[in-house]
């Protein structure tokens, strides 16, 4: 296996770090993944479930305000709580960046980002927006080393996803409690087939979308934001998805799980997931052999994710010398912090000023991608004049705002790139008018931004 510690840190992690040795082997990378999640312990982010008392508090205050009108003391408390929730969100972004910057087990951080993007779920109101990071922490992060089916079920049946793709309010038109006012909504069913499992090129049709939407009814979220399968809102009778019948007279959550298990087992899903892994980690246009190799591991193991990661890491195409991907803004910022060994910023405004606003200018705002398909992968999407201006601007300002003593740009270039410094960059780092400019040139260089 053509393992290379430098490439392993850059392509499968967040780059080289002065404080942490790169992985010694692919086996060591996989072994860390199956070990304890040290970063989650050291730098915690509240899980969705942990945040529900706050949701209850928010709702209680809203009720008070409704009862007492605008002059109610609850009005101020609501404002304060909203401010706090916005601040928590900014802090969770910073925590994620520094987990990535400091993790020994950087592949885990990359995989969490990858799967959180694959199962993008965003909040459509202030309360749910505050819970987005908690969704990733609860539904995605603990499930990235099990089976794809397990991860799929955790994400698709999570309250965050049910809200985001409008399943939470859908009911079976003929359900006992349908009452004729509400009915089906195809959104989640369509995206499960198109984005989460089979992929858009797979042989499914509008009828499969419809039947799966009927099968999904009954999955509800109560006002405390807790998942609840409520059979009296589910469409009665069997539904046929891809020729397979699910359920019967008495709707059960197990029927939905069966359908998701079957979708996870489908050969189109194996190829779709294999291709997404290869595209995300290796190349926008990956080697066909690499995709086949991961898909074969997926199929042979029934979608065991560790086997897929192992297949990704033991294929020669994954270790090609040329760095073909451009780092997305999150990766770019995290890799910069990692290379600089930057301390965490202080002050309430720092997360917005140093991270979330500049990242929005780079094209990746904290509000998340436009739709459930997540962020684009193509380098051409990110490396535009305006995106590049934002990266250069951040590279020129943020490091000196974060740390009083910047490294010598020449030594920094060598360390950040593991000795593979292009001549043009070596020349520029030496010729820069100041340390901040020299460091900015290293960070903004293609050699650093490609992986």
């Amino acid at each position: 296996m053509p393992f290379d510690p430098r490439i392993s840190a850059i392509r499968f992690g967040y780059g080289l770090a002065p404080s942490a040795a790169p992985p010694a082997s692919a086996g060591a990378m996989l072994a860390r993944l199956t070990g304890p999640d040290r970063m989650a312990q050291a730098m915690p982010i509240a899980r969705f479930g942990d945040m529900l008392p706050r949701v209850a508090e928010f709702r209680a205050l809203n009720r008070q305000r409704k009862a007492m009108g605008r002059d109610s003391p609850a009005q101020e408390a609501i404002k304060a709580l909203r401010r706090e929730m916005r601040g928590d969100r900014q802090n969770a972004l910073v925590t994620n960046l520094y987990r990535a910057a400091r993790a020994e087990d950087a592949l885990r951080e990359r995989l969490v980002r990858f799967w959180a993007d694959h199962f993008t779920a965003l909040g459509k109101n202030p309360i749910l927006r505050a819970l987005e990071f908690g969704y990733v922490e609860e539904a995605i992060r603990p499930n990235i080393t099990g089976t794809f089916a397990g991860l799929l079920k955790a994400a698709v049946t999570h309250p965050m996803m049910l809200h985001y793709l409008d399943q939470a309010r859908a009911v079976g038109p003929n359900a006992p409690e349908a009452k004729g006012t509400r009915g089906l909504n195809e959104n989640l069913a369509r995206e499960v087939l198109e984005l989460h499992t089979l992929g858009v090129g797979a042989p499914y049709g509008q009828n499969d979308v419809r039947e799966l939407a009927e099968l999904f009814t009954g999955m509800t979220v109560n006002s405390e934001q807790v998942f609840n399968f409520y059979p009296r809102l589910a469409e009665p009778g069997a539904e046929e998805v891809l020729g397979q019948r699910y359920g019967g007279a008495n709707p059960r959550l197990a029927d939905i799980h069966d359908a998701l298990d079957d979708l996870a087992r489908h050969p189109a899903t194996a190829r779709h997931i294999a291709s997404k892994l290869a595209v995300h980690f290796v190349a926008d246009d990956p080697d066909a052999g690499l995709v086949d190799h991961i898909a074969a591991a997926y199929t042979q193991t029934g979608g065991d994710l560790m086997a897929c990661y192992g297949a990704l890491l033991d294929h020669p195409a994954a270790w090609a010398a040329e760095a073909q991907k451009a780092r997305q803004p999150f990766d770019f910022v995290a890799a910069s912090l990692r290379a600089l060994d930057a301390p965490m910023p202080e002050g309430d405004k720092a997360p917005l000023r140093l991270f979330s606003r500049p990242m929005a200018e780079m094209g990746q705002p904290i509000e998340g991608p436009i739709g459930p398909d997540g962020w684009p992968e193509e380098a051409q999407y990110w490396i535009t004049p305006q995106g590049m201006a934002a990266r250069i601007q951040w590279a020129a300002r943020a490091p000196s705002a974060l740390m009083p003593d910047l490294p010598d740009p020449r030594a920094f270039a060598e360390a950040a790139l593991g000795g593979m410094v292009p001549d043009d960059l070596r020349f520029a780092a030496a010729g820069a008018e100041s340390r901040p400019v020299g460091v900015a040139l290293v960070l903004a260089s293609p050699a650093f931004q490609r992986r």
Partner: protein, 389 residues
């Protein structure tokens, strides 16, 4: 699938990635008319925006969405969404129009992402036959002599397939900036020069910043305004100067749930964008056509959650002093069960690309065969009305 977004971007971008490899020249484009293309992402519900109140089947299909509010009467048959009242003066002045029951050739799978790729590629949907790897706006530019890097502008963060391809296209976001000394800028160019993608972006960023600096802050850097207004202002600023074409996106049209509330924000953005363009373009507005198009329409009938699901036929928005406005174009197919596409969606009766083509024909005098073969391969312009004055 005939192609993927990635195929198009990777294969079409090699030249577009480096639009500033040659110095920016300020030669005027070969014409004086302006075109603005707005991509409405998320599938705008054309039946809600341009409501066919005169169709006997409409009211029953949209019980909660119409909710007693009829909207602003347009022509006795169609009415404009109540939230777009701010645009009625444009309608009365003949500077606002619509096309109903249009779509791209995309059918049946109803994926936003494929639908948008096809809308921006401008190609047909015959599996396996498409060899086109760039956006239709870029292909149009490729057919014209005298194009410079300033002729066409993609505004906003992130790249757009619509403008990808061999012809040079500038792109910028109004809030972007670059405060590096001239020496540092030169070093940055040098650092990037080994990588064409990065080099193009760096040269582009520095070129644009320098031309904006030369205009002494006439555009850009205006904090505190709504992002879509900033984008429309920036686009208008470019169009008043050397640019002749600008494009940007308005998102937020995917209203599966409680559509009555969900439409407010994107409609506001659309209305603000059109009015900002008119105000900021001043006399140039009279020579401007705006076409706003979406990947597909939405279901005729409301779904079970007060919204609508992905459909087929939709509506196109036309604006500007150069259009023949004040009318709703298109052949209305009717909303009877048998008239619907697959019993659920508005039947498309015309190709949305044909109307975009007629805008370019009217504005720029592009020959019909170029539009039918190169810009929108396979599109038929016979019988499509003239929409430009």
């Amino acid at each position: 699938m005939p192609f993927s977004r990635r195929d198009i971007l990777t294969m079409g971008c090699s030249a577009a990635a480096a639009p500033f490899l040659t110095p920016v020249t300020l030669a005027a484009a070969p014409w004086d008319q302006r075109l603005v293309v707005i991509i409405l992402r998320g599938a705008m519900d054309g039946l809600d925006v341009v409501r066919p109140l005169g169709d006997p089947h409409f009211a029953a299909a949209r019980r909660s969405l119409n909710n007693g509010v009829q909207g602003h009467d347009l022509d006795g048959f169609f009415a404009l969404h109540p939230d777009l009242g701010g645009l009625m003066p444009l309608w009365r002045a003949g500077q606002l129009g619509f096309v109903q029951a249009v779509s791209t050739p995309y059918r049946d799978k109803r994926s936003h992402f494929d639908g948008q790729d096809l809308l921006e590629a401008g190609t047909g949907f015959e599996g396996g036959t498409s060899t086109i790897r760039d956006g239709w706006l870029n292909r149009m530019l490729q057919t014209l002599p005298g194009i410079t890097a300033e002729t066409a502008y993609a505004v906003g963060s992130g790249g757009m397939l619509l403008t990808s391809g061999a012809a040079p296209v500038a792109s910028w976001a109004p809030d972007a900036d670059l405060d590096l000394s001239p020496q540092a800028r030169d070093l940055m160019k040098q650092v990037a020069r080994g990588d064409p993608l990065f080099s193009g972006a760096v040269e582009g960023a520095i070129g644009i910043v320098e031309s904006l600096e030369a205009e002494a802050g006439a555009a850009g850097g205006q904090r505190g305004q709504k992002p879509h207004v900033a984008i429309a202002r920036f686009a208008a600023g470019r169009l008043r100067a050397e640019s002749r074409i600008a494009t940007f996106s308005i998102n937020g049209w995917d209203t599966h749930n409680r559509q009555a509330a969900g439409m407010r924000q994107p409609l506001q953005a659309l209305s603000d964008s059109l009015l900002t363009l008119r105000d900021e373009l001043g006399p140039v507005w009279d020579r401007t056509a705006v076409v706003a198009m979406t990947e597909f329409g939405r279901t005729l009938r409301e779904n079970g959650t007060g919204g609508t699901d992905h459909g087929t036929g939709g509506a196109m928005v036309l604006a500007g002093g150069a259009i023949r406005g004040g009318r709703v174009y298109g052949d209305w197919p009717g909303l009877d069960e048998l008239d619907l596409y697959k019993g659920r969606d508005l039947m498309p009766t015309a190709d949305v690309r044909a109307y975009a083509a007629m805008a370019m024909r009217g504005l720029f005098g592009l020959p019909r065969d170029v539009l039918e073969r190169v810009v929108f391969p396979g599109v038929e312009l016979a019988g499509v009305p003239e929409i430009i004055l």
